[in-house]
Symmetry: C2
Subunit: 345 residues, 2 copies
C-alpha cells in the first residue's frame, strides 16, 4: 500500500478525536494526517498519538492534494465539502447522513458488506451508529438463517448528539443532585435521570433515527424485503448504545447455534451468562472495538424467534472505528482513487 | 360504606409512604389507619396528611381487628403474614409477587378487570408495576380489536428496586461526576449512566420481571392465548417506568382510532404531538396518577401492527395507587370480608 495523505474533517467534534486516535492506534499507512475544522477552531491543537497537530480551516481548496478525507462534521459540512473534495480527486469516507441512501454511494460496515466498496464513485458512507452495531450482530445470523423481521428498541447515549449534549447531561445531573433546576438546550427536555423517545428529528410520526435504522439496514443487507420496526430512545448514558432486538428467521436457528455463530464472527464478542449477571452493558462497551451481544434466547412468542441485547461504543465501532476500517478496506483493495465518472457531483 | 380499620404494612419502605399519602389524598373511608413495619422501624413516625403516625411492629396478632391490610413489604413478609391476617378476618391487598399467579387470588387493575374481585378468598394481588401500566394502556385496544401479540422493551426506574437502590443511583452519580469510582451493592453492576438488561432475578435465560409481564398480563386479560415477549432493562431514572410496546390486533385499528379510544378511557392520558416534541417521559409521569401514552403509530412491518410508548409512575399507579383503588373497589362492592372458605391458608 502506498503511504497516504489523510484529512480528518471535524477534528474538534466528538467523533474526530476518536478518528485520530484510532488511525494512530491501528497504524494506518498515512504519510501525513491533517486535522480540519471550521474557522472557529482553526489553529487549535488536537492529539495524534504523542503528537499535537494544528487544526486547519476547512475549505474546498485546502483538501486538494489529499488522497483520503474522513468526514465527521455533520450533514451540512459533508453536503458542501464532500463533492468539492471528490472533484479534487480525494476519496471521502463520510460519517454524516448526507449521502447514505444515494444509490451510487456504498454504505459499508466492513465485516458485513466490504464487497460493496468496489463500485464507489468517490464517496463511501459510514452508516448511522445504531445501524452499525445492529448489522454486525445480525449479519452472521442473516447469512445462515435469513432474517425476515426485526423489532428494535434502542437505549442511546448522549454522545451520539455531540459534545454539547455530553456537557448538558453532566451539568443537568450535577444540578439535579444539588436540588437545582435542570436547564435544557441541546435536547427539548431534561435528559438527566429521564428517557426521551426522540432521537434526531421527527418526520411525521417516526424519527429520522428510526427511519435510518430501517432503510440503512436494508441497504447494507441488500435486502429490501426485511420487515423492520424501531423505537429509538435517548437515555442518560455517556457512551455506548444498547439495543433490545427481536428477530424472526426463515430457517430455524437455536440460541446455542446463534451463540456459537457469533462467537466465531468478526467484530463481535458474546457476553452471555445470566447466572453470573454477565451481559453487555454500556459501561463495559465504552472504549472497546467489539460489538457485545448477550441475552440470546428464544422468543417463544414467535415461530423461529430469537431475542438478543446488543451494545457497542457509538463513537468507536458506531462511528470512528468503522470509518477507519472502511479506509483500511479501501487501501487494501487499492480503491483510494476517484473514478472518472464521480457519482455525486 | 362503613368506616374501616386499615393496616398499612411496609410503611417505611418506598411504596408504603405513597400508600399513606394516597389514602389521605383520596379520603379513603377509614376510621383508623395504622402503619406497620419490622421491629427495626417500630416506634418511628410516618406522615399521614398533616399527622404523624407511630409505626407498629408487624406481628400476626397485631393485625387482628383490622378490616383491611395493604401489604407492600416484599414477598417474604407477605408469604408469612398475609395468610395469618386472612385467618384473623382481615382482607389483604398484596403488592408482592407471592400470590399473584394463585388461581384463587384475583390479580386486579380496577380500570381493566374489577369484576375479578368478586371471587376473592381473602387476598387480592396488586400486579407488578410494569404490568399495571401496560394493561391500563392496552385494555381498551384489546376490548375493541383483540390483541394477539405484544413485544415490550422496558426502561425501568431504580425506585422499583426500593429505597436503597434510589440511594445507590444518587451516590454513584455523585461519585462518577466527581471522577471517583462507583460502588455497587444493590445492583450487580454500576447503574448510574448505564443500562442493565436485568430486572429482578434470572430464571434460566429470562428474568422473573419478564416472566411476570407475560403471565400477569395474560391473567388480567383472562386470555392465555396472547403471545407476549419482553426484555426488561433498568435505567438510571428515579421514578416512572417507560415501555416501548408493539402490538398486533385481530381487527384492524388505526393510530387515530387508538388515540381517540385511549383519550376516552379511564386512568389514561394521551400525550402525542411529535411535531412539538410532546410525548410521555418519566419526568412528566412522576407524581401523577395517569398512565401516559404517546408515539402512537402504525407498525408498518406487521399486518394490523401498532407501536406506542407508555410511561407511568411506578410507585403510584404501578404500586400504591393501584392498591388503594383495589381497596376502594372492594369497599364499593361491599367485598371487604373474608369468605368462610379462605383461598390461601
Amino acid at each position: 500500500m502506498r503511504d497516504l495523505r489523510v484529512a480528518v474533517v471535524g477534528a474538534t467534534g466528538v467523533v474526530g478525536p476518536e478518528v485520530l486516535s484510532i488511525l494512530h492506534e491501528r497504524e494506518f499507512p498515512a504519510a501525513e494526517v491533517v486535522p480540519f475544522a471550521s474557522a472557529r477552531s482553526a489553529g487549535t491543537r488536537v492529539a495524534f498519538g504523542d503528537d499535537q497537530l494544528e487544526v486547519r480551516e476547512l475549505t474546498a481548496n485546502a483538501l486538494a492534494g489529499f488522497d483520503l478525507a474522513l468526514f465527521s462534521a455533520g450533514g451540512g459540512t459533508s453536503k458542501q465539502f464532500a463533492p468539492e473534495a471528490v472533484r479534487r480527486g480525494v476519496v471521502v469516507v463520510d460519517k454524516s447522513g448526507a449521502f447514505r441512501m444515494h444509490p451510487q454511494v456504498p454504505l459499508v460496515v466492513p465485516e458485513v458488506n466490504r464487497d460493496a466498496l468496489a463500485g464507489h464513485g468517490g464517496i463511501v458512507s459510514n452508516p448511522n451508529c445504531s445501524t452499525i452495531q445492529l448489522v454486525v450482530a445480525l449479519a452472521p445470523i442473516h447469512r445462515q438463517a435469513r432474517i425476515t423481521h426485526m423489532t428494535i428498541a434502542t437505549y442511546q447515549a448522549v454522545s451520539g448528539s455531540g459534545a454539547r449534549a455530553v456537557e448538558e447531561l453532566r451539568e443537568q445531573s450535577r444540578a439535579l443532585l444539588a436540588g437545582e433546576a435542570a436547564q435544557s438546550e441541546v435536547y427539548p427536555h431534561q435528559i438527566a435521570f429521564n428517557a426521551l423517545p426522540h432521537c434526531d428529528s421527527f418526520e411525521g410520526d417516526e424519527t429520522t433515527e428510526e427511519t435510518k435504522l430501517v432503510n440503512e439496514t436494508r441497504k447494507i443487507f441488500a435486502d429490501g424485503s426485511i420487515a423492520i420496526s424501531a423505537t429509538c430512545v435517548r437515555v442518560p448514558v455517556w457512551r455506548s448504545h444498547s439495543e433490545a432486538v427481536w428477530i424472526e428467521t426463515e430457517q430455524e436457528i437455536s440460541p446455542d447455534e446463534v451463540r456459537e455463530l457469533l462467537e466465531h464472527s468478526p467484530g463481535l464478542r458474546v457476553v452471555d451468562d445470566p447466572a453470573s449477571a454477565s451481559y453487555p452493558m454500556p459501561s463495559e462497551a465504552a472504549g472497546r472495538d467489539d460489538v457485545l451481544v448477550g441475552r440470546i434466547r428464544r422468543d417463544r412468542s414467535r415461530r423461529n424467534g430469537i431475542a438478543l441485547w446488543v451494545v457497542a461504543d457509538n463513537l468507536r465501532k458506531g462511528a470512528a472505528l468503522n470509518g477507519v476500517q472502511i479506509a483500511e478496506a479501501l487501501a487494501e483493495g487499492d480503491l483510494i482513487r476517484v473514478p472518472e465518472q464521480a457519482a455525486v457531483a
